[in-house]
Symmetry: C2
Subunit: 655 residues, 2 copies
């Protein structure tokens, strides 16, 4: 038997990695800090990862006040340097987005089952507020499609917008108030990371699904159907469309089709040549004017073409007396506020970040949330419903050369002029053109290349995307979204309960150890099982890890049997470099593993524990001596080298 051992050890000698007498380095513990200090650090990392107070460091008191005001009102940062050249650019871009904002505002308000004029009100006050508080230079603020759809459909569950329009309007304003309150609180409490839970995959699926739902709703206007379903799903809408073929109006269909094609072509041109941004930017307003003239000239409203009808004139009336903070609909209003608030925040922040990255400036997420939230709270008291930074209009704004938030002010002023003087002109605007404008706007939300990219990179993310997409189309907008978020989080938790473990091998000619599955050249060292654990060890995974490690040991033993080599397992080396944290269950797991291995005559060595893990193992280590110099190493190479020489010296003394 002894000669057998010697023979085995003989074969070890030729092992490439073993460099006996390799210098061994100590694993160190991070400097001691009190629990309170650690807690403080943790809280800072959680809530202030961007360290917003950094700029105040080492400044004079006066300077600090100035910086503080600039922090709250970003306008003060760029205001003093504002000049005529910037103003020229901003006027051009402001007028461009106004020509988009007016028809879109009217259209989106209809999507939310609100009077069209509310859409214009919402394009007047919120942009002014954002111009003062917001930190993005490109964001064009106003009503957007998906939150409009969501608010309309959620409120319609309890109140009918046709039978009880005043109550419906009150609920819409109250929801907007809560949405704004919620958004601003997220920013104040620095909980902005909540919107991170909407992953890219979720958003792409959700947006595409919502775009289809929104487009389907436009069939009412585009086909001229009067008895349209009140539901949103694909199935009820299609059955409603084909059960009401008698109501289809050929005049509406023809005219709608023409304008839709015109708008789509204009959009296509601008996509191909971004310099021609004004083609797609001007097309909706042109369509509105053209279609209104046609209706007016041919008295088409008497030939089956439905029109907007008379609109009030004048600026936003106050609406704080319309906010309802009690009564039976409070739950609904809170829920609607929460969901539309999150969704519009997500769109606003994402759009802001996208354009900030293009122009190489920073947008502070938490600050943006406060700006958008305040804008909605104020909006809800001035007859505005939910608004945020719109993707399509911001893109036009950016392409039209907007330099600062002044373009929002120009847009607001244009809308104001419209509200004051031009409202009667919209009387004969046909609904079909609004439908065509919405379809053209939301079709851009369907991002096939991004979906293909997700399919290529990550199949699971693709499944999440499909869930969001089909959930929105077949169940409901909010439930589809919840489903996708739920699945994403479930995957994350599952990943935590089933962390990866890998067997490491030596890369010949080096002291580097890597995953044997990934590096085909890597060879194992006889007598050693080297495992790397790639996740925090905690209550959710410690019993899995125990099972899994015992299985790796069985695998090792079977492999030895197969190769007729019987050197036997002497050491299990755990590479803890990737274990970023550990809890009491995890500490117990390591202690237990050591005990179980000891009974089998196998020694456990730990490699490269990070600071926190090291500290906790030390604290838990009473009489166990888990962290002896001969079982704790800085690198796998040093562990193998040191343990190997100790094994040799033992066996030679046996011989």
């Amino acid at each position: 038997m002894e000669s057998k051992v010697e023979q085995d050890l003989g074969s070890y000698n030729h092992h490439p990695c073993v460099e006996i007498g390799m210098e061994i380095h100590k694993v160190e513990t991070p400097p001691k800090r009190s629990s309170l200090r650690k807690l403080g650090n943790r809280l800072k990392e959680t809530f202030f990862p961007d360290d917003p107070l950094r700029q105040f460091k080492g400044q004079s008191t006066k300077q600090k006040w100035l910086l503080g005001f600039q922090y709250i009102f970003p306008m003060l940062q760029w205001g003093p340097h504002y000049n005529l050249n910037l103003l020229k650019s901003d006027i051009v871009s402001g007028l461009t987005i106004a020509s988009l904002a007016i028809p879109q505002g009217i259209s989106y308000a209809k999507l939310a089952n609100l009077p069209p004029i509310v859409g214009l009100y919402s394009s007047f006050v919120p942009p002014l507020i954002y111009a003062v508080l917001g930190s993005s230079k490109d964001l064009a603020v106003g009503p957007v499609s998906i939150p409009s759809l969501l608010m309309g459909s959620m409120l319609r569950q309890e109140v009918s917008p046709t039978q009880d329009p005043v109550l419906f309007l009150q609920l819409a304003f109250t929801s907007t108030f809560f949405a704004g309150l919620f958004q601003a609180s997220l920013g104040f409490l620095r909980l902005g990371f909540i919107i991170d839970f909407l992953s890219k995959a979720t958003l792409i699926g959700f947006m595409a699904g919502a775009a289809i739902i929104v487009s389907l709703q436009q069939l009412k206007a585009l086909l001229g159907i009067t008895h349209f379903t009140k539901e949103m799903g694909l199935v009820p809408v299609m059955s409603s469309v084909f059960h009401n073929t008698k109501e289809w109006s050929w005049q509406t269909i023809l005219m709608g089709f023409c304008f839709l094609v015109f708008l789509l072509v204009a959009r296509h041109i601008s996509i191909k040549k971004p310099k021609l941004f004004w083609v797609s930017a001007g097309a909706p307003l042109l369509s509105v004017i053209l279609s209104t003239l046609i209706v007016f000239a041919f008295k088409a409203q008497h030939h089956g073409i439905s029109v907007i009808g008379k609109l009030e004139q004048g600026l936003n009336p106050p609406s704080w007396n319309m906010l309802h903070f009690h009564g039976s609909h409070l739950g609904l209003v809170l829920k609607t506020g929460l969901i539309t608030g999150i969704i519009s925040l997500t769109e606003g922040i994402a759009v802001g970040r996208t354009f900030a990255a293009l122009k190489n400036y920073q947008v502070d997420g938490n600050k943006e949330m406060i700006a958008i939230g305040v804008m909605n709270v104020v909006g809800s008291t001035t007859s505005c419903y939910i608004t945020t930074g719109a993707f399509s209009r911001s893109a036009v704004n950016h392409n039209a050369g907007a330099k600062t938030a002044v373009s929002n002010i120009i847009m607001a002023v244009t809308v104001m002029v419209t509200l004051l003087f031009l409202m009667p002109l919209f009387q004969y605007t046909p609904n079909l053109v609004l439908g065509a404008i919405i379809v053209t706007a939301v079709i851009g939300l369907i991002d096939i290349p991004a979906a293909y990219q997700i399919w290529k990179v990550d199949k699971f993310d693709f499944v999440v995307m499909l869930c969001a997409f089909f959930g929105v189309i077949f169940i409901s907008v909010q439930e589809g979204l919840a489903l996708a978020v739920g699945i994403s989080i479930f995957k994350m938790v599952l990943q935590m309960t089933r962390p990866k473990t890998a067997v490491l091998g030596n890369i010949p000619g080096t002291d580097i150890f890597r995953n044997k599955h990934q590096y085909k050249d890597a060879v194992s060292v006889p007598g050693f099982l080297i495992l790397s654990i790639q996740a925090p060890i905690n209550f959710a995974n410690s019993s899995y890890l125990n099972d899994r490690i015992l299985r790796w040991i069985q695998d090792y033993e079977e492999e030895e049997e197969d190769t007729k080599r019987h050197s036997g397992l002497r050491f299990v080396v755990l590479d803890l470099a990737a274990v970023s944290a550990i809890d009491t269950n995890g500490v117990t797991f390591i202690q237990e593993l050591r005990r179980v291995l000891e009974k089998k005559g196998v020694e456990l060595a730990l490699v490269d524990p990070v600071g926190e893990v090291m500290e906790k193992l030390q604290k838990a280590d009473g009489t166990q001596n888990l962290l002896q110099p001969n079982t704790l190493f800085l690198t796998v190479g040093e562990a193998v080298s040191s343990l190997f020489s100790s094994m040799k010296s033992v066996s030679s003394s046996q011989v």
Copy 2:
């Protein structure tokens, strides 16, 4: 400027780590596998981490059948080798636990607001079933305190056990049925990891809280109060106790106090000297006999001491006709079944694993779940309520030398004899002695040393423990538990959204790079910012990581300013060794980071991505060239060495 660069580079030359011309190794991709194969592997790791089919590999068909039967009925494994010696040990231990099981069964049934005899029924049928199906050799099966308390208190929310005892009993059996069904399904579907979400900290806090709640309930019996509150919380119970001081009976208090002291002393003796296990094991039965004799002799039932009263004689009557699968209480029954099922499963599995570890055999969690589940389903049809492996009785069983599950059979037979012939003897047993037995049993659930250990090792776990404890005491048993589980999972998700990043430095004299905070000797390399990310990169953390890395860069620049060194940042090296997974958001984050850094004139290099990360980066990498040999390295040392020499050659060609 150029001479400045050269001067800086001059100082680099003396840098200890730089060993120009160091051999560079390639990062490899794992062998290609189809998505389906990967999915299969993932599913296997998730549901079969213990690889239960391993033992069937390479066996003959006959052998496979035999192994299969043995897998389902573990009794077949040890049955053939059973002998007289083993039987002797099992008889001793079986009789010992029976002497505990009889008084505890009666007591726990009262805790669940059920007739005392149901506790004895539940100590007869379930142990017999467990003996056939269970794989633990030490588990003593029967009713236990916390699930009894939970079932009693949850069902009492809707049905009064005194006013409607038959319906209450029906609901208890139906809950037991669902609990068993749920437990067995968890095992069949291999979802056993669900109980892992009850962390050690949660359980210790929960058990201690529940022990106090259970003990408080015993004040009714121990003080002789007749009008006792029906609530469980600390506050209502204490106010009920002190508002009914007139009902206190000094005879009851005196007698209860004596027996409580006697039982606690007996318990203390057995803890100090485990060989004297029979002292605490026999004490409850002795107390029952003594107290019954005292009551009988002094006719104490007429002096304010309440007694159990007449009990039926005979074995378990069938109860399948008492199961209710419809009606208004179905929701309650399902919820009760679910919660008591999980809790009793947790206790059973934990106890089984503890003793298996002591005797060095394995207990298969999923198999145990099926065994416990089947036992409860069958139990619910034979007048038994929820049962599991009890901690205190299993400990006695183990100390008494139990060798196999036959000790459970011996216990069941003893209970059967009691049911058939000895029931009239319990007529005069005072309730106070049952209260004293319960208090003595549950006091062992309060584990102060373990709580102290948690405080020492992990402050956050301690907070979780306190939440469970105070939640149970002040809110309710089930809500306290839910609170603690919720906080544990929240911590896990928060950990995921705020992964650790660390700046690495070179350990002098080596090519090893480690966290500069932990290793005070580690020095940074001028021009390099070396960061390690220690978590999967995904939707929940990619925008945080972006913020955090930009802050590290700012820190670097500030430090340079402070030290008046202006070599400037040239390279950001990301050590991805600890990034075990990545999703589409994570891939975008790395691509964006590279783009942002490029604009600053800084190059991004990646080190040691694991297989999955490597694959996804490759797939996403269209024209970006993220994975060029000059930006992808196997170790940080090689990255620094290689990039450093490229920087030198560039700057010398500039000069």
